[in-house]
Every structure is written in structure tokens, then in C-alpha cells.
Amino acid sequence: MPRKPIHSCTVERLEILGPDGALDASLMPDLDEATIVELYRTMVRMRVFDDKAVKLQRQGRMGTWAQLKGQEAVQAGVAHAMIEDDWLIPAFREHGLMFLRGVPGHLIYAYWAGDERGASFPEGVRCLPIAVPVGSQFTHGSGIGLSLKLRGEHAAAVTFGGDGATSEGDFHEALNFAGVFDTNTVFIIQNNQWAISMPRERQTSSPTLAQKADAYGIPGLQVDGNDVFAVYVAATEALERARSGGGPSLIEAVTYRLGDHTTADDASRYRTGEELAHWQEQDPIPRLRRYLEERNLWDDERERTLEEDAAKWVAAEVDAMNAMPPPDPGDIFRYMYASMPPALAGQLAGLTQEVDR
């Protein structure tokens, strides 16, 4: 052997429930039926919540909306693996995770309708606001993971990003930092194949995103992100490791953005109908429904009820958003510093005068 191998790595992919309904029972996590049904309900609620937002946007009642459609299994699976003390550090497409973690739906809507009060989560909700500059949240996840470790909390910092976000320098600095300090962080990439118009294949030349973990000496795993069981298993394992001092890891959840990038985008400009059709067949919701139906855990009747309930819930969230009084222009100033410097108070006084006039 001419050159001495000094390091090797293997990246694995975890699949449990295939698109065709095939189940690898040996890998199936220990989830009771009620829980599996609840996972399904959760995913449908996400879909309904998401669809409603798109409608609101079309009606001019929402600013921009980034659809999560197609990514429900990742978000339900991870949420289910989280414990109360875990922190969520979202990118900007994790609406489902956010409401599951305790951010009221009406605040999520209000935020995307252009209202900062939507990012003022209730006391005790361990969640950062979304990160608009792509990738900039990763280092927060490292810092929060370090914080949890230093305080000896049995908790993890669950840090999300997209396939596109892995190209930013922040991704690299964050994973390296986490690796060096063995922080309680789990990085989860929702690889939905696109970063606006940039396909995954041209975002990076590595065949998987999971293998990037090896650059930081931390474990990396790819999962079928449309398979809620696989996501749940992977997340549980990584989170438990992070919480108990075993260090950070990276999960690549392979999924697909079934909608446009945002309501301001038109994905038909850059991707084909065939591709979309192919991925519609991988849709995580029908996949899990088939699983339930095959086991007599679900039927059309229950589906109808669920849809009605979800619609009611979403309508209530819309009402709650609409019931919020308009934001006070003074809020522009009020939260800049713990106490307002005189010059800023002067600017506020000027605005107040204008508004009162």
C-alpha cells in the first residue's frame, strides 16, 4: 500500500418507513399507537397551518410566507424527540416546530404579517426568533449548547438550517466551535433540495451533507426526512447524546420543498413539473397515513374530523392575530436598549407628535 490510510469515515442513511409503505420493523422505535396517531395529526395540522398562511398572503393579509409544505415529517419527528428544557434555534421555515414548542400560532402569523410582537414568545418558551440572514443562527446554537453544558443542564440546543445554509461560513465556524467545546448542540439540516433557485447538487460538490460532520470530528447521519420514524430515531439519539455530554452532531434530513421558496417566488421558473411530481409521491403525510390505515388506526372519518379540528384551530389563530391591537409606533424605540438614551427619546417624541397630530 503506497500511502498510509490515517482516517476513514462512513456516512449512513437511516430509513424506516419507505415511500412505498415498506417498514423496517427492526429499526422501528418504541412508539405506542396513540403517539403515532398524534404524530400524524401534528403533521396534518402543520399542513393546514401552512396552507392557511399562503391563502392569507394571497388575500393581502400576510407579508411574505415561507412554506413548510413537504417538510412536516422532519419537524414533527424532531419536535417529538425534544424535551421541555431543550432550546430550538430555527432558521425560518420551522413554523411547525415553533408551534409545537409553544409559540402560539397567532404569533407566528403575526410575525410573518410584519409585526415584531410575533417574535416576542411567551415566557419560558425556549426558542430564538427566526434568523433572516441565512446561516447566522448556527453559531447561536453552538453558544446555547455551550451555555447548557456549562450550567450542567440536561438539555440540548436544536439548531436548524437549510441545504443552502451549509455553504455559509457560519455553518463551518459553528460546527467547528461545537466540536471543539463539545457543546450540547444538534445541528439539523432540512435538505429540501433547493435554496431558492439553486439545486442541492450545485450548492456543494459533496454527495451528502451529512458527511460534512466529519470535518469537525463529530457524528453525521443522513435520514429520510419524509419518514417521521427515521427522523424521530435519529433526533432522539443525537439529542440524548448532546444532553448527556456526548457532544454535538449533525443530521441531514433529506426532504423536499413542495411549495415555492416563499410567496414572492415562482419555482416553476427553475424546476420541472416532473421533479415536483416525483417528490409529491414522497409526501410524508400520505406515507404515514397509509401506515396508519394499514393498521386500522385511521380512516376517512377520522381524517375529516382532524381536518375540521385543524381548520378550526387555524381559524382561531387567525382571529387571535386579527384581534391584536395595531402595534404602537413607539415600539420602534422602546426596545432598543434597556433604558432609552436621551437622543432616542427625542426622536420618539418627534414621532409621537406626528402620530398624534
Binding site: D115, V134, G164, E168, S197, F333, A343
Partner: protein
């Protein structure tokens, strides 16, 4: 030449008649004309290729010039600018797009520490002729971080020119000048008026020189100084003021570095009063520099303190409150009146 998929305009490099274009189309037109002329020009950035840019400012270029000259890059601003520096020092002329000004921060190191300094550091041996285009400013109810106006950061940084057009004609002429310039130029496009109106734009190639301001409106009582999207708001205010019998001159700076001091000071010397208007936060904004200049060169001609009408010293508010933040006709008019009543 492909007509692209659905875009309304594909560049008029080969057209022979003046067309009525928006600012976004004028950008596209300048790029077409210049890329046709000079094969060393390369357009790169996020979604600039097949997608034609999120504001369609590079629409049709990919189809026309192909993937070696119109490059969709990975999502990495530092690499976009750093690679452009590498391209530029070796004879290419990159025109890089940053998708929104709020996302230029990751590239600040490359801009300030490298692009802006290469000529100086190598005593002229290596140069960086490149353009960094980006939409800037508020007013379109965009998400957080999409409404920034941080031109002051770059105006304060020696070695990089900063250009901000306010209308389609200037957009094309200034962008062509920027591309031909031998130094890095930051080209800030007022996204609020990207498509707000059309103006006749001549076909083919013409330039508007960098470093010269325009008198957007003549007047005698007060000088209003602005750039980019604020110019129209100022013109609007000037029209309203006219009905009150106040004659306002409006200066469109067009280039913020280097500043056209002569035009600016001549006007203020004439009127004795000035109001500077910008979207960016007030403190240490470019407005402060203009006040300082006037103070230094025309103090004795001043009849009143120079007024600043600017964004607040706050985070740019999200959509629901943004209208309170942006300078508007009333604020500008009130400031003008204060200078007259002083």
C-alpha cells in the same frame, strides 16, 4: 437570443430605439450592453442565472451569455466577493450581486480589507475593477433585514466608490461607468422604485460619470440633498412646497463616494439653507458628512442650521411599522419650513 421564460424584457443591446424602462430593466440593459462589449465581464451571485435574480435584474443574461459568464453561486457572500477579488486581479471584470443589502455583512471583510485596498497595498500593481450590485432600502414591506440602507459603512471605507441611482436613465449610465471603472464600485439599487415607474432609456452604450451630482430640480430658497429612492420623495416635497411659495432645489447626489462637493456647495451657497434626507439611521449617517462639509465650506452662507431628515436610530421596523420610519413628504417639508423660519 432566447426570450427567457415569461420575463417582459430581455435587454435592448441590439435594439435601436429608446425604450421606456424601469430601474430594474435599466440594470438589465446596462449588463446586456456591457457584457456584449467586453467578454471579461462576468455576472455572479445567488439566483442571478436561470432565475434571473430575485428582482429579475439579471433576467435573460444566463440564456444569452451562458453559464460561464452568468454564474449562480453557492449561498456564500464572503465567497462571492472574495472570488470576485480573485477574478478581478487576474483580469476579469466581475459584477457580483448581493441579494439584499442586509446580507452584505458576511462580505464586509472582503470588501473593506481586500477589494478596497488591493491597489493601495500593492502600490498600483494589482487592481480590483469590480462592481458589487445590491438592492437597498425600505418601502416594500419586506421581511426583516431586507430594508437596510447602510451606505455609510462603505462611504467611510476608503478605496471603494459608492453609487446610488434614482432613475432609469442614470441607472444604466452609472452602472456602465461603474463596470468600466478601474476600482471597486458598490452599486446600490433603490428597490422601492425598482419598478415604480418607467423612463426613456437610450439603446446601446452611454455613461453617466461617477462622482457628479445632478440638480434634479432647480430652486432658490433651500437645497434638499438626497440619493436613491429618497430623491423622488424630495421632489414630491418640493412640488408641495412650491404651492406654499417655497422654491426648493433638489440635488441628487448619485455618487456618495467620491462626493460632488462643488455642486452641493454651490447650491447651498446660493440658497443659504439645506436639508439632507436619507433612509439610514441618523447618527453617523452620510447626512452627517454632508452637514460637516457644509459647515466647513459654507458656514457663513448658512441662514439656518442644516436639517437632517433620516431614519431613526433604531432597527429598521418590520412591515407594519415601516411607514413611520421612512422619511416622507411631510417630514421633509417640515424640515424645509424650519430652515426658513429659523
Amino acid at each position: 437570443m432566447s426570450t427567457g421564460r415569461g420575463q417582459q424584457y430581455t435587454g435592448q443591446a441590439s435594439a435601436s430605439e429608446t425604450a421606456r424602462l424601469t430601474i430594474a430593466q435599466a440594470v438589465q440593459d446596462a449588463l446586456n450592453v456591457e457584457m456584449e462589449r467586453d467578454p471579461s465581464i462576468i455576472v455572479l451571485g445567488e439566483d442571478v442565472g436561470l432565475n434571473g435574480g430575485v428582482f429579475r435584474a439579471t433576467d435573460g443574461l444566463f440564456e444569452r451569455f451562458g453559464p460561464d459568464r452568468v454564474m449562480d453561486t453557492p449561498l456564500a457572500e464572503d465567497a462571492i466577493i472574495g472570488a470576485s477579488v480573485g477574478l478581478a486581479v487576474t483580469g476579469m471584470r466581475p459584477v457580483a450581486e448581493i441579494q439584499f443589502m442586509g446580507f452584505v455583512y458576511p462580505a464586509v471583510n472582503q470588501i473593506l480589507a481586500h477589494a478596497a485596498r488591493m491597489r493601495n497595498r500593492t502600490r498600483g500593481r494589482l487592481t480590483v475593477p469590480m462592481v458589487i450590485r445590491m438592492p437597498y432600502g425600505g418601502g416594500i414591506h419586506a421581511p426583516e433585514s431586507h430594508s437596510e440602507s447602510y451606505e455609510a459603512l462603505f462611504v467611510h471605507s476608503p478605496g471603494i466608490k459608492v453609487v446610488v441611482p434614482s432613475n432609469p436613465y442614470d441607472t444604466k449610465g452609472l452602472l456602465i461607468s461603474a463596470i468600466r471603472d478601474e476600482d471597486p464600485v458598490m452599486f446600490l439599487e433603490p428597490k422601492r422604485i425598482y419598478r415604480a415607474f418607467r423612463e426613456p432609456v437610450p439603446p446601446g452604450s452611454y455613461t453617466v460619470p461617477l462622482g457628479t451630482a445632478a440638480i434634479a430640480r432647480q430652486g432658490s430658497d433651500v437645497t434638499i440633498i438626497a440619493w436613491g429612492a429618497m430623491v423622488r420623495v424630495c421632489l414630491d416635497a418640493a412640488s408641495a412646497l412650491e404651492r406654499e411659495g417655497i422654491s426648493a432645489e433638489v440635488i441628487d447626489l448619485r455618487t456618495l463616494n467620491p462626493l460632488d462637493r462643488d455642486t452641493l456647495l454651490a447650491s447651498v451657497t446660493k440658497t443659504g439653507r439645506a436639508v439632507v434626507v436619507h433612509e439610514a439611521p441618523r447618527t453617523a449617517g452620510v447626512g452627517a458628512e454632508i452637514v460637516a462639509l457644509i459647515n466647513e465650506r459654507a458656514l457663513l452662507q448658512l441662514e439656518a442650521p442644516v436639517e437632517r431628515v433620516t431614519g431613526f436610530d433604531t432597527v429598521f421596523p418590520y412591515a407594519k411599522l415601516e411607514k413611520h420610519y421612512l422619511p416622507n413628504r411631510e417630514r421633509i417639508s417640515a424640515a424645509v419650513r424650519r430652515t426658513l423660519e429659523f
